[in-house]
Amino acid sequence: MIEALQRRVNDDEGLVRRGRYLTTSFLLEVGATPWLISIFEGRIVSVTPGPFVMPSSSFALRASEAEWKKFWSRRPPPGSNDLMALIKRRALKAEGNLQIFMSHLRYFKEALGKLREGAAA
């Protein structure tokens, strides 16, 4: 399911345009499974599943499988409807160089929202 991120983000011209000054790699951890996601000028160039020996990334977003499942449900319940909501409940850990994450926060929120059930591709 995470693999779908590449096509769904890249198919959204507006989102890619907003991310045109964003080039980075970040780790998305869904429970014990890490995914390395590389972005070049707003376009996702690869989504690689772990395990990794020495993954290089600018920052990591880590949450349990159950928390991501709620976040990616069709209508997330209160407290699971946004990355910041998860962070507030300490259900999501954002670690690393968060300048990149915060300076493109809308991009990351909308990109990860693409995995939501029923979300437009």
């Binding site: 209160p78 962070i87 300048q99």
Partner: protein, 282 residues
């Protein structure tokens, strides 16, 4: 070509606040019992456009919203470029009382959201005689910071982008798209460091947990309305405040978020109008 004008009129008021001259923008609509509206952190009085454009409110109320200094069309005071904006409880309290007095309002109903809801609790406790009733939207006694506030004001993070993105998830899921994005636009238009300066009051200086139970609703009725999807001031936090104050009435508004009056005015009015009726009947 036909055009349509809203009934809202705006004026600039000059007054001294905190010992310095200020230019404050004030909007109002309607006639009757004054209803003084306080906007959220980092936004401005436009959040109350839904109330000011609804005849069900304006036929009995003079609805007034001012942009706090540094916000919206109000200016920061002269010399602003040499200082860091930081809102304190004492300043906020003085500002509301001074502006209410300057407008000649006789015991207005006060309605405030988020930081406006928090200062409403301070005012209910400290100056109940100045208000006919107080309505706190998204009004909790305290919020722990849940992100590094410094990101709101640094040269390598665009202030408008990050302020809008930070609060975007606080809008409820059912908000009409145009209202959602207008609400976020107001955040994106804030001056550098202003949202962060407001949050100094909201997350640090304005903590009222140890005093909130002393509010006496016999001196000034208190109503709390909070959106179900607000993870900044959660329904649990609102209910905790309500349960600690005898006579306080609280409603959790289903589907709404942190900006009820702005993100979905029609859904919000369904909750507000009965409260205004109750206040009128007292």
């Amino acid at each position: 070509m036909s055009v349509r004008f809203e009934p809202i009129v705006g004026r600039y008021m000059h007054l001294d606040l905190f010992g310095r001259p200020h230019r404050v923008y004030v909007e109002e609509a309607g006639e009757g019992t004054p209803l003084l509206c306080l906007h959220t952190a980092g936004s401005d009085g436009r959040q109350y456009r839904g109330l000011m454009n609804d005849i069900r409110v304006t036929r009995n109320h003079r609805v007034i919203a001012f942009d706090m200094p540094w916000h919206g069309k109000s200016s920061p005071p002269a010399g602003w470029h040499e200082e860091e904006y930081q809102l304190t409880s004492a300043q906020y309290t003085a500002m509301v009382l001074e502006i209410s007095g300057a407008l000649g309002l006789d015991r207005p109903i006060l309605i405030g959201c988020s930081i406006g809801g928090r200062i409403a609790l301070h005012l209910a406790l400290e100056h109940p005689e100045r208000f006919r009733a107080i309505i706190g939207l998204q009004a909790g006694a305290h919020v722990d910071p849940y992100y590094d506030l410094n990101f709101l004001h640094r040269a390598d993070v665009h202030g408008g982008e990050v302020c809008g993105a930070i609060v975007s998830g606080l809008v409820g899921p059912d908000a009409p798209d145009n209202e959602r994005w207008e609400t976020l636009w107001h955040y994106m238009q804030g001056g550098p460091g202003v949202f962060k300066g407001d949050l100094y009051f909201y997350k640090l200086d304005g903590d009222i947990r140890d005093r909130v139970a002393q509010i006496d609703t016999r001196r000034c009725p208190l109503f709390l309305l909070s959106g179900e999807y607000d993870y900044s001031c959660t329904p649990e936090e609102t209910l905790a405040v309500a349960n600690s104050i005898p006579g306080c009435e609280a409603t959790i508004m289903k589907g709404l978020g942190h900006f009820p009056m702005s993100e979905d005015p029609q859904a919000f009015l369904a909750h507000l109008l009965p409260v205004l009726e109750k206040i009128a009947g007292r």
